[in-house]
Symmetry: none
Subunit: 531 residues, 2 copies
Amino acid sequence: MQIFDTTLRDGAQREGITYSVADKLAVARLLDQFGVGFIEGGWPGAVPKDTEFFERARTELELQNALLVAFGSTRKAGVAAADDAQLAGLLAAQTPVVCLVAKSDVRHVERALRTTREENLAMVADSVNHLRAHGRRVFVDCEHFFDGFRFDPEYTASVVRTALDAGAERVVLCDTNGGMLPSQVSKAIAELVERLGVSPESFGMHAQNDTACAVANTIAAVEAGVRHVQGTANGYGERPGNADIFAVVANLQLKLGMTVLPDGCLEQMAHVSHAIAEIANIAPDSHQAYVGSAAFAHKAGLHASAIKVDPALYNHVDPAVVGNDMTILVTEMAGRASIELKSRELGLDLAGLPDTLSKVTHRVKELEAAGWSFEAADASFELLVRQSLGEQTTPFTLESYRVIVEHREDGAVVSEATVKLRVRGERVIATAEGNGPVNALDQALRQALERHFPQLTGLELADYKVRILAGSHGTDAVTRVLVETVDTDGRDWTTVGVHENVVEASWRALVDALAYGVAAAGGDRKVRSRR
Amino acid sequence: MQIFDTTLRDGAQREGITYSVADKLAVARLLDQFGVGFIEGGWPGAVPKDTEFFERARTELELQNALLVAFGSTRKAGVAAADDAQLAGLLAAQTPVVCLVAKSDVRHVERALRTTREENLAMVADSVNHLRAHGRRVFVDCEHFFDGFRFDPEYTASVVRTALDAGAERVVLCDTNGGMLPSQVSKAIAELVERLGVSPESFGMHAQNDTACAVANTIAAVEAGVRHVQGTANGYGERPGNADIFAVVANLQLKLGMTVLPDGCLEQMAHVSHAIAEIANIAPDSHQAYVGSAAFAHKAGLHASAIKVDPALYNHVDPAVVGNDMTILVTEMAGRASIELKSRELGLDLAGLPDTLSKVTHRVKELEAAGWSFEAADASFELLVRQSLGEQTTPFTLESYRVIVEHREDGAVVSEATVKLRVRGERVIATAEGNGPVNALDQALRQALERHFPQLTGLELADYKVRILAGSHGTDAVTRVLVETVDTDGRDWTTVGVHENVVEASWRALVDALAYGVAAAGGDRKVRSRR
C-alpha cells in the first residue's frame, strides 16, 4: 500500500495557510516521522517557494521513510515534452518521483484546457515518457476522473489507459470536485477495471471532502482493490478539504487490519497532527477523529462505573495506539464514580476516602448548578479536590481589588487595576495597566506575586473564553470565564471562574490559573500538556 | 424517510455546549424551519432543564414540520414499567413520540447494567408496551448495536426482535462507540435482515464520527434499506461528534435523489447551520461540507475564467440549492451585490446610489477585517448604511465614560459607571451602579438619555454574547460583543461592537442598541423580530 501525502501541495490550497520554506521542511520531517511513503512537496518551477523547498530538501532533509515527490502538469498543448519549461522544472527538482496532473474529463479538456481530445492524450503520453526516460517514477493524477467517467466513460478511460501504457506506475483517480459517495466510488472503480482489464492495484485514490465522505471514499477505493491513497494532514485542503490522512491510515491499520506504516509510527499520529497544526497556524480541532483532544473524551455520569470496570467497552480503539489518551469530563451528570476516576487520572486517589469523595461530589454538583463547568477546567477541579483534602492551594489572601476602565475625552480607552493582597504574611499593593480590565488585573496580580513566586514570570495567558449563561437575562446573567495558561515548558492547564460580574468571574479563573502555576512549577503536579 | 434530529439531546453531549431552555426552544424552531420530521428535545424527568423545555414547548413552540420526541431509557431492572419513575417522566412530557435507549450488547447488559440477558429483554418489552399502551409512537435506540452484533449476534438480534414485537415503530441501530466503516455497516444490516427476516425499513441508523465516517455510515445504512436516519446540526456530539444531519440530508437529496425535506427547506440549510452555531456559541466551521463559508471557495487564477464560463465544472452542486454562495466571503455580507440586497431588505434602496454603495461595501469589508460581523447584527448594519446616507443616527455625542469594578474587603463586588454626554446641546452627567461593568454602563447611559428619549424606558437588554477573536493572544485578543434588545412591542434587534477592551466593545454595541431603539420607537423602521 502506498501512503501518499500531499499536505504541502494540495493541502496548502486551504485558505489561510502560507508555509515558509522552513515550515515546509518542518512539516516534511513530521510526515516522515509519521511514516508516510511519499511526500508531495509542491510544484517546482511554477512556484518559486517550492523550487527553493526542493533545493534545500536535498541538503537539509534526511528522510527515513518517505520519498519526495515533485508535482506538475502534463506538457503544454502543441509543445514537445523536451521543450516544455514546466517539465524541465520538474526534472530540475531531482526527486525520485514525479506526480503529473492530467485532464481526464473531456469537458475540462475542451473548455478549460481549450485543446482537443487527441492532443490531451498525446500530452499525457509524451510527458510520462519524457520523465520515465529521465529515470523518474511517475504517478498520474487524473483530474475530475469521477465526473468525467460518469459523463464520458470511454474518453476518461482512454486517458487512464494512455498513462498506464506510457509507464505511469500508478494512475490516481481524483474526485476533484468532491461530490462522490463511497458506493459510487466502488462502482466506478469496478467499471474501470472491467473496461480496461487491468488490476485495480495500478490505481490510486484522491478524495475531497465536499460530501463529508472523503475518508470513506478513500477506504471504499482500497476495498475495491486500489493500493495507493492520497491525503493531507488533518484533512487540510481547498473547500471542505482533502481526505484526512490520519483517519485514513488509522482506519486501514486498525479497522481493516492492513499494515501500512512502519512499526511504532502510528503512535506518533496525535503528536504529528498537532505539531503540523501549530506550523500551519490553525487551531487543532479538538473533535477530530482519532487525534482530537476530545476524540476519546467521555461525559462520564451514568457510564463512569462501567468505564472504570472496562474502558474497552466505551472506546472504539485504545487511545494510546494513536498516541492519544482518554479523558473523563466532569459534567452536570457527574457522579461519585466519575469524580473518583477523574481524580485518579490527576494522580489523586480518593478510593480510600469516601467522606472526601462525597464532599467533592457534593461541591462539584453545587458549583455546576451555579454555572461552573469543570469539563474543560481540569486545573480548577484538581485545586478543588486538593482543598477538600485540606490543602492550602491559593498562595495568597485577597484583601481587595479595583479595576477602572476609562474612555477619555481624547477617545483613548485605558484600563487600570489595583490589587491588595497578603502574601506570606506580607501586605502587598500593586497597580498595573492593561488593554482591558482582565488584562490589567492579570498584570497587577502577577506584579504583586512575582517577588515571592518568580516562576510566575514564565506563565502566559494562552486563551480566554467568555460564556454568558442563562442568556435570556442579558447583562445580569451569570458569566463563565475559562482561562488557559501555558508555562515555559509548553505545559498548559485550564481554569474556570463564574460570577454575575464578568470581572469577578475572570478574577476567579486567573487566581486558579496562577495558583495552579505556582504548584505546577513546584513539579508536584502532573500537568498534562495538550501537545 | 424519517429525518430524526438529536441536536438537543445527543448533540448537547459535545464538550462545552450548555443550552438554556430559551436556547433549546430557538434551536427547535430552526430545525423545524429546516424541515426535519423529528426533534429529540432531551430527557424529561432525568434532566430538569429538559423537563422545563418540554413544558414550555407545549405553549411556546408551533412546529410546522417536526414532531417533538422525548428521550429516555427502558425501565429499571426489577421494577414494573408502571412503577418506573423515569418512564412516568417520559409520559409526563406529553410528546407524540418517545425514543427509548436499550442495551443491545450483552457485555454492557452484564457489566454496565449489571443485570441478566433475560431481564434486559423484559425491560425492553415492558417499556415499549407501557408507552404504546399510553398511545405513544415508540422508537428504540439499540445502544452499541454494531459492537454487540459482532460479539454476540444472536443476543443482539434478540433485543431488536423484542423491541419490534413489542410494537416499536423503528429500531435504531447505534454505532455508539463510532468504530464502524460503511462496508461493515452494510454487511451487519444485511445479516440482521437475513437473521430476523424483517424489512430493513423497520430500522434506523445512528452514527458517531470516530472513524470520520459518520455521514458515510448513515448513507450506507440507507443504501441497505434503512428508512430512518439520526443526526445533529453541524455534527455536534460527544467525542468526534455525530453524523452531521446537514451533510446527510444534502447527500440523500442531491446525490441519491431522495426527497426527504419539504419543498424550499434545503435552501435554509446554510442559514440554519450558522444560526444554531451562534446559539451553541461555537464558531461556525468555514470548511464544513455544503454549509461552510469556504465550502464552495475557489482559488482565483487559472481556473477563474473557466469558472466564469461554467461554474458547474467546478462545483459538485449549485451552492444556492443549499443556501450557500460561491462568492467566497468571511460572512454572507461583504459583496456589493449582497449589500445592495441586504439594504433593500431593510427598506433602503442603494441601487441608484453607486457611490454610497461603494462606500458602504468598503466600510463593511474594513470592519469585518477588524473582527466585526454583521451577519447577526442587522441593526448595526442599518445604522451604518444610514450614516453613509448622511443621517445622524446617534442621538448624543460621548464626552467620556468611566467604569469602576471593586472587590471590597467585605467580599462585596460592586460596579459603578459614570457617563458624560452631550444630548441636544445639553451636557449630561449620569452615574449608575450595576451587577457588572456593562450593566452599570447600560444603566448610566439610559439615565443620561431618558429625559430626552422617554421611549428608552421600554427597552430591555435581552441577550448579551461575547466572543474572543484570535484567541491565541489571550486577554489582548479582539473581543466581539453582540447585544440583543427587545422593546415593549416584543420587537427585537441585534447590534455589534468590537474592540480589544471588552468594556469598550460592549459600549459600542450598547450605543447602537439604544440609537436604533430611539429610531425604532419613532416607527420609521421596519424592525424585524428574529422569532
